[in-house]
């Protein structure tokens, strides 16, 4: 095998790793966008939804030995319930919402979730079996984990469901109407409070799915939420805040850039790479690479 091939195999290997991570960032970013579109706030507890999903899945499959499919469904319901609970208990009761106050409330929820998860699941990291075999598959000299294929497949399913929901169902269209102009939507008879609750439910559900599918690869622990949330936010900004198709592309791009950076620059600084990109985009083009700067100017956040 000549050196060129070796380099190529390296690149493919990094690409696989990047896409695997990127899918997770994409899903976290979609969660950010849903809540942002419905309320105009950034939910800083978004990463915590991912951790909750992962930890719940570990308990259901590894301790209770439920079949993966059943545990998957239960965990998503658990995530949705957590999202609804958060909205009903902490966002809905606020009488005079200001962005600053709501953002601090989401910070509080993230601290509580983190503290609760630490008490309930302990400080150690949790191992979970891969969905199918843990044997890497060979791909022209590079290897890919079957779990990565699961991750890509589930992301595709989520995106299809997302597009279907927001374009072809009445509830989805109502949510989009609220995102575009809440007052006008209310005048048209849409219950915007209910849409806010729904956005938290869906966003937590997607977060839980992300947690479920990534846990076999990264071994989840209670403190992972902040970094996952932050990188997901990076993807959301990169794709244009509020634009979920942009977020998916940006998430995968961010994951790939991070993997290439870790491979070719320094693995110690891997976590910093995505964040430097986040800062750079925030400063140079805050509307994101796929976003519309005109539309951005009208947003509240």
């Amino acid at each position: 095998m000549n050196p060129v091939d070796v380099n190529l195999i390296d690149i493919i290997q990094f690409l696989f790793m990047g896409i695997q991570r990127g899918c997770i960032y994409a899903m976290v970013a979609m969660g950010f966008n849903m809540i942002y579109n419905a309320t105009g706030i950034i939910n800083l507890a978004q990463g915590e939804f991912v951790v909750l999903g992962g930890l719940m899945m570990v308990t259901l499959t590894m301790t209770l030995h439920l079949p993966v499919a059943l545990a998957f469904v239960f965990t998503v319901f658990f995530g949705v319930a957590a999202g609804i609970l958060m909205e009903r208990l902490t966002i809905n009761p606020v009488k005079q919402p200001t962005v600053l106050r709501l953002v601090i409330i989401t910070v509080a929820v993230s601290i509580i979730t983190k503290g609760g998860a630490m008490i309930f699941w302990g400080k150690g990291s949790h191992y979970m079996d891969h969905f199918s075999s843990a044997e890497p598959l060979d791909f022209h000299g590079a290897t890919i984990l079957p779990q990565t294929l699961w991750i890509i497949g589930i992301l595709l399913l989520v995106v299809v469901a997302y597009v279907f929901f927001f374009n072809f169902t009445m509830t989805g269209k109502c949510m989009r109407a609220c995102a575009i102009n809440r007052d006008a939507a209310r005048l048209a008879g849409i219950d915007d409070r209910k849409m806010v609750m729904l956005s938290f439910a869906l966003s937590a559900g997607i977060g839980a799915i992300a947690g479920i599918i990534i846990t076999p690869v990264i071994q989840i622990d209670y403190a992972r939420g902040a970094m996952l949330g932050l990188k997901g936010f990076g993807a959301a900004v990169l794709g244009g805040l509020g634009n979920s198709t942009g977020a998916v592309a940006a998430g995968i791009l961010l994951g790939v850039l991070e993997a290439l950076g870790a491979g070719y620059i320094s693995s110690h600084y891997m976590d910093a790479i995505a964040l430097v990109i986040l800062l750079f985009v925030l400063f140079v083009r805050p509307s994101g690479i796929f976003g519309n700067s005109e539309a951005m100017r009208l947003k509240e956040f």
């Binding site: 009761p93 601090i104 409330i105 976590d271 925030l282 400063f283």
Partner: protein, 356 residues
């Protein structure tokens, strides 16, 4: 500095003078020093959150800059602590300009995410840049500073020194609030567009406050490094930044005294919790240190939901209400003595439906 603030100042100065005479235990004196350091960072953060209406979720990074700046320059390069602290403050200000100008030019809360990202980067660097920061094992042998020939070597001396800095910090913050910039800040907190139409340079004011808050945080970090003589990346992660926000929000966003109250209450809360845990055990509750995070989160959530102005304003409002009730009941009873007859007649009249 007028009225209520000077009362607050006298209370603060008196309690600082008296406390070391009451508390002679080194451990508790140490936690009061940490309380002072947290207070210093919180004063700056309060100016940013309460007055400029911006949130920074990465203030721990500026504390880290202060701590590492002072630590590296003194321990590795043999600088004296004072110039090292000054240099760290300049560095923090410079970083704040670089971060603040682009983030604050945008409307809304981009600064929150920019600072959060920046704080995470700083944390990664403190762990990974082993040559400069010592990596996970940190920096040792950071000297205590010398003040006018007195080496600040005992906890009592350091306590007085740190709290003197806090008092100066509070004084400067009040001066800022009473100045033209402070009034401008309050205006832009209400409405940025309205403030801009009155000729207030909105972005520049916000950047200035952000720089100032970064300098406060950096000084707090430098004093921390010189106090414990040893730093590692552990205390400066994102959860410390979140803790600072919690302190300011719990105490009261729109009031320096509130931020100070929050810093004091939450810094001493772990001591209090470990104190009451002995009693909780009597009721069969086994309280552990691990629950602290949860308790902090709960407190922050409850304050934000039910007392959005913070405990300081809440306490003040509560006291005012109690006084008002006393005043009213006092007046009512006085009136009752003189006019008891007529009011009883009125009551009877209204009951029987007769008009007088």
């Amino acid at each position: 500095m007028r009225g209520k603030n000077s009362v607050g100042f006298i209370i603060l100065i008196l309690s600082v003078i008296v406390l070391p005479h009451i508390i002679t235990n080194d451990y508790y004196l140490g936690s009061l020093i940490f309380t002072g350091l947290n207070s210093l960072a919180c004063i700056g953060l309060c100016l940013l959150m309460g007055y400029a209406g911006q949130i920074s979720i990465g203030h721990g990074a500026f504390v880290a800059i202060g701590a590492y700046g002072a630590g590296i320059l003194t321990a590795n390069y043999g600088w004296s602590p004072w110039p090292a602290m000054g240099f760290s403050m300049l560095l923090a200000a410079f970083v704040a300009i670089i971060l603040g100008i682009p983030a604050l030019r945008l409307k809304g809360h981009y600064l929150a995410m920019a600072t959060l990202g920046f704080a995470s980067i700083v944390h990664v660097v403190t762990v990974a840049a082993v040559d400069v920061t010592g990596g996970p094992s940190g920096i040792v042998n950071i000297p205590r500073p010398n003040l006018f020939g007195y080496l600040l070597d005992t906890d009592t001396r350091y306590f007085y020194f740190v709290w003197a800095v806090v008092i100066i910090g509070v004084y400067c913050a009040f001066n800022l609030i009473d100045s033209r910039v402070g009034r401008g800040l309050r205006a832009l907190h209400g409405s940025e567009d309205a403030a801009a139409s009155l000729g207030i340079p909105v972005t520049w004011y916000k950047v200035q406050v952000f720089i100032l808050s970064a300098v406060y945080a950096s000084l707090s970090g430098s004093l921390y490094a010189c106090y414990v003589n040893y730093i590692d990346p552990g205390p400066f992660d994102v959860s410390y930044s979140v803790l600072l926000i919690t302190m300011v929000a719990v105490g009261g966003l729109h009031n320096i005294w509130g931020a100070l109250t929050g810093a004091v209450v939450l810094s001493l809360l772990p001591e209090f919790l470990s104190f009451i845990s002995d009693y909780l055990r009597l009721f069969g509750i086994r309280y552990q240190q691990d629950y602290n995070t949860l308790v902090y989160g709960m407190i922050l959530l409850f304050i934000m939901l039910f007392l959005p102005e913070g405990i300081f304003s809440g306490l003040r409002g509560g006291l005012a209400r109690v006084f008002a009730v006393f005043k009213k009941s006092g007046q009512a009873s006085l009136e009752g003595e003189f006019a008891g007859q007529s009011s009883a007649e009125k009551l009877l009249g209204s009951l029987s439906g007769h008009d007088q």
